[in-house]
């Protein structure tokens, strides 16, 4: 009789254990899905825009670095100098996280101020525009 009792108890505990494990597994999957969804919904790339320091010299070539926080490459990088000339764009190769653009600003008899901007685009979203002020010295 004891043996029967013990066996019954073991069986019930085993069932409870199995039930608990399955509930835990479902819960875990749901949590990870939620976190994945949250990650996907929030995966708008952030553009990192680096411009040269200080006032720039007209007619001199400078590099402007545009990067992204996104890992959903390949990426497209945009750079708008802000002086009315065309926007430049780079279609990334592979998973490059940044590209360098080159630009020379024209000169005037007076100092000019421009707003250069950059954006990046991955396979899912496009980033917000990031702008930086550029000052070009007079001749």
């Amino acid at each position: 009789m004891k043996k029967k009792l013990f066996s019954s108890l073991a069986a019930v505990l085993g069932l409870c254990l199995v039930f608990s494990v399955s509930v835990f597994a479902n819960q875990d999957e749901s949590d990870s899905n939620n976190s994945t969804e949250n990650v996907v919904a929030a995966a708008v790339p952030t553009c990192i825009f680096t411009v040269p320091n200080g006032p720039l010299t007209a007619g001199q070539r400078y590099d402007f670095k545009v990067g992204t926080t996104s890992t959903n490459g390949p990426h497209v990088f945009y750079f708008t100098p802000g002086d009315g000339t065309s926007r430049q764009r780079y279609d990334g190769r592979g998973g490059e996280q940044n590209r360098i653009f080159y630009h020379s600003y024209p000169g005037y008899q007076y100092q000019k101020s421009y707003t250069a901007s950059a954006q990046t685009q991955d396979q899912l979203n496009i980033s917000r525009v990031v702008s930086k002020s550029i000052i070009v010295k007079a001749w």
Binding site: Q60, R61, T80, T85, Q88, D91, R93, S104
Partner: protein
Amino acid sequence: MKITLSKKRKIMQLIFLLFIIFILLSCSMFSLNSANKTIQQDIYDFSRGDYDILLRPRNSQTPIEKKLGLVEENYLGVGDGGISIEQWESVKNREDVEVAAPVAAIGLYTASAINYSLPERGDSVRYTVKYSTTDGVNTYDLGETYTAYSFLDPNRFSDYSTITDDSLVNVFWGEYPSFLFPLTYHQVVAIDVEEEKKLTGEDYSKLEVSSSGLNPDFDEIPILGLKDANVPLKASIKIENIDLSEDDIRELKHKYKIDSDNGVGFEALSYRDKELHTQLMKEMAEKTSISTEIYELDFSKAISPFYDNYLYADKDYHLLNYEEHPTGEEMWGTIDSGSQKTYYSVGPVNYQFSGNEIFVKQIGKDEKSDIPLYRDIQKEINFVTEGPNVIEGEGLYFKHVGYFEVDQHEEELAASPLGIYGIHPTYLAKDKETLLQPTSLPGSFITTPAHGLISINWAERLKTDTPIDAIRVRVADISGYDKSAADKIKNMAAEFESEGFTVDIVAGASNQSLTINVEGIGEVIQPWTTLGAADTILKSWDISKIILVTFFMMVSLVYIIFSFSNLIKSRRNDELLLMSFGWKKEHIKRLRFNEWSLILGSPFMLAFIMMLVASFIMKETLLIISLVIVFIIVCLSMFLIEKVHKLNVKQEYSPARNGTITWKNTWYYRSHITFSMFQTCIMTIVSIFLTLVMVLQEKQTTQTTLGIYVHGQMEWFYSVLLIFLYSLTILTLIESLLSLWQQRSDEINTFHHIGWNKKQLYSFYLKEVALWSGISVFIGVLISVISYQILFGRIEDSLIWVGGIAVMLFTIILLVSLFVLSNVLHKSINLGYKKVR
């Protein structure tokens, strides 16, 4: 023993001929009726195009439209507007309107300016680039030549140094030898996505997708480009290897104060010192060329209007677009979002008339390229910029979001053209292979289909408060063009007209080609559209049908009367003989009835069986009904002929007193030839009058594609009926002549025995034929000419044709007569010899 008074051979001949007549008459009645049905059905199906009514602002009709009732194929691609969005929506919301699709011509725009890249070169190279455009006949240089240099000069930024024209700074790099894509202007039209989809079945939903945009300060306007449209632009690229050593480079750097590693490079010298830059360009131009390569890049094969993705040439200098040919390598490029700050509005072409000819004259030339201008063009401004800043207006740019296509309806009969999708080419009249097109700049006499489509939501912003040029209305609850549908359309048209619109009913419209003399090019064939072709074709068919059916029945009936008359005449003596043997009248009547039952009944039964089978196969009971009607008419005719002959049993003909022997013989034997004369007269009338009527109607109807199609459908029927008609006439002629000359066989023998040769015999008898057939033909010509003159007017232009046809008919009659006479002479003479023996 069964007695028959008519010869067996004669009976068989009559049975055969009556059988043919029964079939012919029944089939002709059926074919006429079914041909008529076919034509009505074809018009009903084809004449309704994609829409029924065109609404335009008041006084929209151009002078050529008022004069000729024609509009250009893409007539809605140009316009100043005049209908507001509210007006359009009120039309759209009507219950009797199924579709109200607006069109607003926005103007000629260029795409967002991009560059194109050539393959990287590791040597010292001079690039010289020139552009040209073409209208299909003439090629025009587009002004400036662009020069750039690239040579190896490793520095912090790049492996290369570059020297360029001012416009290529920040565009041309050693790694990406790039040049700016010249501006080309294309027709942009605004449509409503939903209504246009109802009309064309195409999905334009991409026009309403908004994105965050690449320029937050500008409005982004989605635009669809026409997939197969042409960008008529070519670039001539000359690439020269130049003699430039490292020492030369060092010397240049020293001379022009270049410090590449610190960013003070050759490429932006013009930004630092313009005079120095000019001097440098002159010095570089003098560098010796070691080798030269010349390439031609044809943009028309690589891209379509408003393409704004990457563009590059492969290692063989074939231009490729990135969408269709993505590379595995990274791409660099430029795009200018300020390209839509200006655009061109164009006026209509001023067509001039001289008699029946249409002219288009040049009104000027483009200053730089000498491209001729055929219409007024006005440069318009959307916004003004100073550097990067918009100082006037609001910035906007076109974002290329995809393509639209136009179905190639090669055999489309009913055009009711949508006004912006016409792709039928304009070509030289003297060479159909030379197709014409607008050049890359505005001012062409050709209005292209819309090369770019945007949403109607932008029309007020880009144009005026009343931006819409036309509304294409499809009437609800009708499925084709018949009388009731036409009445409904007309009533709606009247209502719209009272609201102030210019209204055109396009149902039944059809394409038409127009020959236009264009100054500087020559005669061109251009696609236009007529309105209201369906009614014309219906009327045309009725007249021809009535004439042909009437004459054909007359000819058939005359032949039957002629045959029966001969039958009765040939039996008369034999019946008298039988009466002399003691036969009673009832027996003779019964004999006659039996013979005629055989003669009539046999072909009727055979024809009936044939028609029954045909009716069963074709599922047309009209065939049987036609046959029965024909049979009844024939029986009645026989009955009447018999009665007439009873009353005129003895008929004596007195000879003519005056005239030649030919005339006297003709007069004496007139009873034999009366029927044939009548048939000949009808045949002449049909040949001349009906032909003239058909030619006149054909001119009026086959000028349109629909007309050509419907007229083509009628051709087979005309041919069949005319063949039948001529066959019967010839049959009657042959029968008449046989009867006449067989009766005169003794006379023929007598002439032969007294020494007449064949030539004299032919001459004697054929003169008679010539006389009476000549009179018949002449009477037929007179009736035809007078009738045509009274009913349709001028016939002077066609008198030569009338004469020609008459002579041809006369000749045919003589030839047939000659053939019959030769047989008769041969038999008569041989028989004469037998009798003598």
